[in-house]
């Protein structure tokens, strides 16, 4: 008797697998991370404990976690929208930067001191900037079938370098003693914060948009069109859905939401633009969207968990003196495991015994 393995496609995915498989994958990633931490000479248990304490242990830790979760949620929703129709917008980072740049431009050139008018202007311009940045890639795809993965990726660098130009050049704060940063925002342009924390009102935008997206996908004609296009573009055309027009529209909206993330970061948190201000939220958003299986509500939860990882990672750096890279490796491990675990949702492994 010789047991053999066989891989079979699952006909039906039991509903419990929808959460247990990603959870299991995170577990495996943490176990692999433990090996890594041991190799770095750190007790994994102590390290994970420090991470939890740093991010969830007290009010300050939790508020910091939320601060990170806000842009992650927004950017996660943004890329999730594009991914829903199988358009690979990996340019959220650049769209965040464009949104932030637009916000700074509004502060510089729109001479209003009414906060509400200021916020509305910043919001609109950030949406427009991020939306056009992504919509352009969408247009190229719809019109000439240009690969959006490449264009959105490349446009990240254009956006980042464009921001650098303004930060080092015309928009540099003259009183910054030569440091590359723009002039601080006036009080009227700063988003209000909650209590004594750094949590700004962007949290309401993030949660509100998540709910809006949920309604969009589930209850609207347009959301249905997007889902059909993503699942089967042939069927979409057959059903009279204009897939090309929708690619441009969805990319615009996706970029607009990422632009909002950029605007809330500068106006809510940092109050000025500095090089590398986003810190890769636009890329982490890809992980968020996948972990959340493109579900808007789950995006909030996953963003919070990744916030834990980010804040906990900061703690690790401080308390355990670990390099930033090790935290990023941990993040990478999680994505790797979760995407790999998709295999077990779609297939199962059967042991067969065969008589010789």
């Amino acid at each position: 008797m010789k047991p053999r393995l066989r891989i079979e496609r699952r006909l039906e995915v039991p509903s419990w697998m929808n959460w247990s498989i990603p959870a299991g994958a995170v577990g495996v990633a943490l176990a692999a991370g433990a090996v890594l931490l041991s190799l770095l000479g750190v007790s994994p248990l102590a390290a994970y404990k420090a991470m939890i304490q740093g991010s969830l242990g007290d009010a300050w830790g939790i508020s910091e976690t939320i601060v990170k979760a806000i842009p992650l949620t927004l950017a996660g929703l943004a890329v999730g929208l594009a991914f829903t129709m199988v358009v690979w917008n990996i340019g959220a980072e650049g769209q965040i930067v464009m949104g932030a740049l637009a916000a700074v431009a509004v502060v510089r050139y729109a001479f209003v001191d009414n906060s509400l008018v200021m916020f509305s202007l910043m919001f609109l311009m950030a949406c427009l900037a991020g939306g056009l940045w992504a919509g352009f890639a969408g247009f190229l795809k719809a019109r000439w079938n240009v690969n959006e993965t490449i264009t959105t990726l490349m446009m990240n660098y254009i956006a980042i370098l464009l921001a650098d130009y303004f930060i080092y050049g015309p928009w540099r704060d003259p009183s910054s003693l030569g440091f590359p940063m723009t002039t601080p925002f006036p009080e009227a342009a700063r988003l209000p914060v909650l209590g004594g924390t750094r949590v700004h009102v962007g949290i309401f935008l993030a949660v509100g948009l998540a709910i809006l997206f949920r309604v969009l996908y589930r209850w609207t004609k347009w959301g249905f069109e997007l889902r059909v296009i993503g699942n089967n573009p042939n069927a979409a055309r057959y059903a009279g859905i204009n897939d090309l027009k929708n690619v441009v529209l969805a990319m615009f909206l996706s970029g607009a939401v990422a632009g909002i993330a950029g605007m809330t970061e500068v106006a809510g948190l940092q109050g000025r633009l500095q090089p590398g201000f986003s810190g890769g939220y636009g890329f982490t958003a890809i992980i968020v969207a996948w972990l959340a299986r493109l579900n808007p509500m789950a995006t909030i939860l996953v963003s919070f968990l990744l916030g834990v990882l980010l804040v906990g990672g900061d703690t690790l750096q401080v308390v355990m003196r670990l390099p930033l890279a090790s935290v990023q490796v941990l993040q990478g491990l999680i994505l790797f495991c979760v995407l790999g675990a998709e295999f077990f949702r779609n297939y199962r492994i059967v042991f067969i015994e065969r008589g010789e």
Partner: protein, 517 residues
């Protein structure tokens, strides 16, 4: 063939094979003797292909054994099967289009020299061609050949590899009646030379003509193995389906009404940008079924798509109830009451990952009462989906399950229900019964006839000649994107004549008749 003392070329004993929870083969015994045609008859999903893929080494059985000339064998690949003398000609040919015939023949042979022995190969091809009536030009590139010729190349490929048993999987589905006759001559020649042939089909007339023995499969089990000459059509059908089947189609006599669809000299390209429809004209009236017969790949799909707005029309016009629809969007055709049943239901007609409700919404989400402003009313969508499921007998565990988990027949019922539920003016149906079992086929035909009685204009495209002949009020034969002839009374048409038109020979009388109008 009576061959009590002869040794079988192939003997399959107690073959069992499961896929997930589906038992595709259960304890099947099957054998082939030298010089006989042993037919495997059964509906789609009866287990024919699984059994033959096991014989061909593509699948490994869960239980059971295979004996080749008495010796137990186990194949883990088609290469091993052909080495043991088992050659399979698949429904979809396994040829490289840009290579020549002789190159395709030697490709993949073990022990090939760096310089191919072209002259020797061509000589051997010539020998085999003469012996079995398999005419083909060895130096032609495969893409230049007709489907019938390509099939000959596939058979030659197997004979070249000294196959003693040939498995032909639905070989006639792509052929004109004349080509079928030629194939049968080749098969007879092969059996005369002592080869064994396994013939897979569900076309009863052909099966009765060519078979020495017939084994009928149903749901993975052998129903019966009987000598070919003893079989009757009714008996085979009954055993295949498990109940009595009535062949005659009950069609009411109707007087067609106003013209619904008119195509005037339309031209369209295929996906590769080559002309697929050339200067084609047709018209369909209310309460009329216009059948389009033809061999697969002669522009049927492009014609259907051009008529429902999914494919741009280069020249010519499409009129719906006298209104010029040329160049309009697919949505405009939908709004004008055009239903389209595409042949490719999984790839086009349905979204596999979406559930039954969502697949109903696919073609209806834009209209009341399923849409309210920008929002969807899942309540009314679910209500109508439930009614369709009931009326069209879709068997599904629930409205919320993905349609890819439904069987082909149930998917077709759901799609048909959706397309016919909105009382369409024009129905373009392409291969609506393809891949369905006899029961589901009857149902689909019946539904089309009911729509006809209701006053819909129907364009029925099918490669099943029997089907178009039975259902159509008028019949056009398509070849390379052109109409070869129009038959005003399909029941009086001779198969001979239709076969000639399918092969590209114009029916002059019909053409003149058209001009005279």
């Amino acid at each position: 063939m009576e061959s009590g003392k002869q040794q079988p070329l192939v003997q399959m004993l107690g073959i069992t094979k499961s896929f997930a929870s589906v038992k595709a083969n259960r304890g099947i015994n099957f054998d082939v003797f030298p010089g006989e045609v042993h037919t495997l008859l059964g509906e789609n999903g009866a287990g024919k292909s699984t059994l033959m893929n096991i014989l061909n080494g593509l699948y490994q059985p869960d239980a059971g054994s295979i004996r080749i000339k008495g010796a137990e064998c186990r194949f883990s690949s088609p290469r091993e099967a052909i080495a043991a003398g088992i050659g399979m000609v698949h429904q979809h040919f396994m040829l490289v289009p840009v290579l020549t015939v002789w190159e395709n023949l030697v490709m993949g042979l073990p022990g090939l020299k760096a310089v191919l022995p072209k002259r020797e190969v061509i000589r051997k091809i010539g020998e085999l061609s003469d012996r079995y009536g398999l005419d083909v030009e060895p130096e032609a590139q495969v893409w230049q050949l007709s489907v019938g010729e390509q099939q000959r190349v596939e058979i030659l490929k197997m004979l070249y590899r000294n196959a003693e048993v040939l498995v032909l999987d639905e070989p006639t589905s792509v052929l004109t009646p004349q080509e079928v006759r030629r194939l049968f001559d080749t098969i007879r020649q092969m059996t005369a030379e002592g080869h064994g042939v396994v013939f897979i089909s569900h076309k009863l007339d052909e099966v009765m003509e060519i078979s020495d023995r017939i084994t009928i499969l149903r749901s993975g089990e052998v129903v019966e193995t009987l000598p070919g000459p003893m079989a009757t059509r009714e008996m085979l059908a009954e055993k295949m389906v498990g109940r009595k089947i009535v062949f005659a189609v009950d069609k009411a006599v109707l007087n067609p009404g106003d013209t619904v669809l008119e195509a005037e000299g339309i031209c369209a390209l295929n996906d590769r940008g080559l002309p697929a429809i050339r200067n084609l004209s047709l018209s369909i009236r209310q309460g009329e079924i216009l059948g389009i017969a033809g061999i697969a790949g002669n522009g049927q799909k492009e014609l259907c798509e051009a008529l429902v707005g999914l494919r741009p029309i280069q020249f010519g016009r499409v009129l719906l109830r006298g209104k010029d629809m040329t160049g309009r969007k697919p949505m405009d055709f939908l709004r004008a009451g055009v239903s389209y049943i595409p042949a490719d239901r999984k790839g086009t007609g349905l979204v596999g990952a979406m559930n039954l409700r969502e697949n109903f919404a696919l073609k209806n989400f834009w209209r009341k009462p399923y849409a309210k402003g920008p929002f969807l009313s899942w309540e009314s969508i679910a209500g109508e989906t439930g009614r369709i499921v009931e009326r069209f007998g879709v068997s599904a565990p629930g409205l919320g399950i993905p349609v890819r988990n439904l069987s082909g027949g149930n998917q077709q019922r759901l799609m048909l229900g959706r397309e016919l539920s909105g009382t369409p003016d024009l129905i373009v149906a392409m291969q609506p019964t393809w891949g369905l079992d006899v029961g589901a086929t009857e149902f689909v035909r019946d539904q089309l006839l009911r729509q006809r009685e209701r006053g819909a204009a129907i364009l029925l495209v099918s490669e099943d000649l029997e089907e178009v002949l039975a259902l159509s009020d008028r019949l056009a034969v398509i070849h390379k994107g052109e109409i070869m002839g129009l038959v005003e009374d399909p029941r009086s048409a001779s198969e001979e004549e239709l076969g000639l038109m399918m092969a590209g020979i114009r029916r002059e009388t019909a053409i003149e008749g058209e001009k005279g109008r």
